[in-house]
Symmetry: C2
């Protein structure tokens, strides 16, 4: 049982890749199942053989991206010289991820509120991975004696992640947005680096 068919998995991957390209280029709503099928020279019906529907296909792409992202974080756990390196790594990784998949996220802007729960599951997993990486870094730093012991590292990291999110949505000017414009991403990145600088000092003796 399980094991799964190799050939099937390969085909699934091809579908995911083609879908990723389309979603990245044109966004969710401007991509049709016919177009994806066309890119792969297969019938639309075959897509439905491999994936139950369009939104679950999108989720599968999203999950793949998220898994890569999470894996990258996990691979770097406990590899940092100090707390700041860990924070900087998280911010850089996040920045790169958003930059290279920017258009993919139009699905978020489109559905604005009430996104499917699956999305939030993935967002939460990513959040947990970030939380894990950073709170481990804090614990390590405490053991080293470089910063003050805190009762609840997770709570502190949660707070920092919320704050970083604030930097993102406040973006430039007072107009608050759900998702920043592409041209503001670098400024956000810079501001975030400044914030963790202060934040880290706040944790030190």
């Amino acid at each position: 049982m399980a094991a799964g068919n190799d050939h099937q998995d390969i085909k699934r991957e091809k579908i995911l890749d083609a879908s990723h390209q389309r979603f990245l280029h044109y966004g969710y709503s401007k991509t049709t199942m016919n177009e994806i099928a066309g890119d792969l020279s297969m019938s639309k019906a075959l897509l439905y053989y491999y994936f139950p529907d369009k939104s679950q296909l999108y989720m599968a792409v999203m999950r793949k991206l998220a898994n890569d992202y999470i894996k990258n974080l996990e691979d770097h756990i406990d590899t940092f010289a100090n707390l700041k390196d860990a924070f900087v790594f998280q911010i850089n990784t996040n920045h790169d991820f958003i930059v290279s998949n920017y258009n993919f996220f139009d699905f978020f802007r489109l559905n604005e509120q009430n996104l499917p729960d699956t999305i939030w599951d993935i967002v939460e997993q990513v959040h947990l991975a970030e939380l894990n990486l950073l709170s481990k870094a804090i614990k390590t730093e405490i053991e080293r004696g470089a910063i003050k012991p805190v009762e609840n590292p997770e709570e502190i990291i949660d707070l920092l992640l919320d704050a970083l999110h604030g930097i993102k949505v406040s973006a430039v000017s007072q107009k608050k947005v759900n998702f920043p414009r592409k041209e503001h991403l670098d400024e956000i990145h810079t501001k975030r680096l400044l914030l963790i600088d202060i934040f880290i000092k706040g944790l030190m003796y």
Copy 2:
């Protein structure tokens, strides 16, 4: 010249009060000009004698609320024993303002993106007042020698205000919202207090 008619001003105030009540209770879109006029036992046409249109009436109420808020901040400039007191005051004042005018802001949720520029002018004025209060508090604290001198206090406060905004929109659970639910306001308040705690320590020697 100018001086303006007393009686007219009083009537304008009455209209603003009645409108405030309606907007607070039912929100912008569920309030009609007929209802406001009805509350004041006047004709709808008279409202248009005093205010050019509905949205400018709403703005006038908003501006009044904002002016009170800003005045409150200005009255407390340089009255704090230390930096933390200033930050706590800002956070408390903001919290109270949101709590007591919660439903008034449905206009923001309604128009989501592209709000009229007048709104953003007011938001910016409030932001400037907060910036002014807090950066003065920082400068005072630097003069006292209680914290490290920083090149650009305004930049630091900007960062903090963005971070505080992040606490607001991240709210509970991962689902990011434009405006938090009423039942989360207290939790946001608590988290903000925790954040400034760390933030202030980050500014100290």
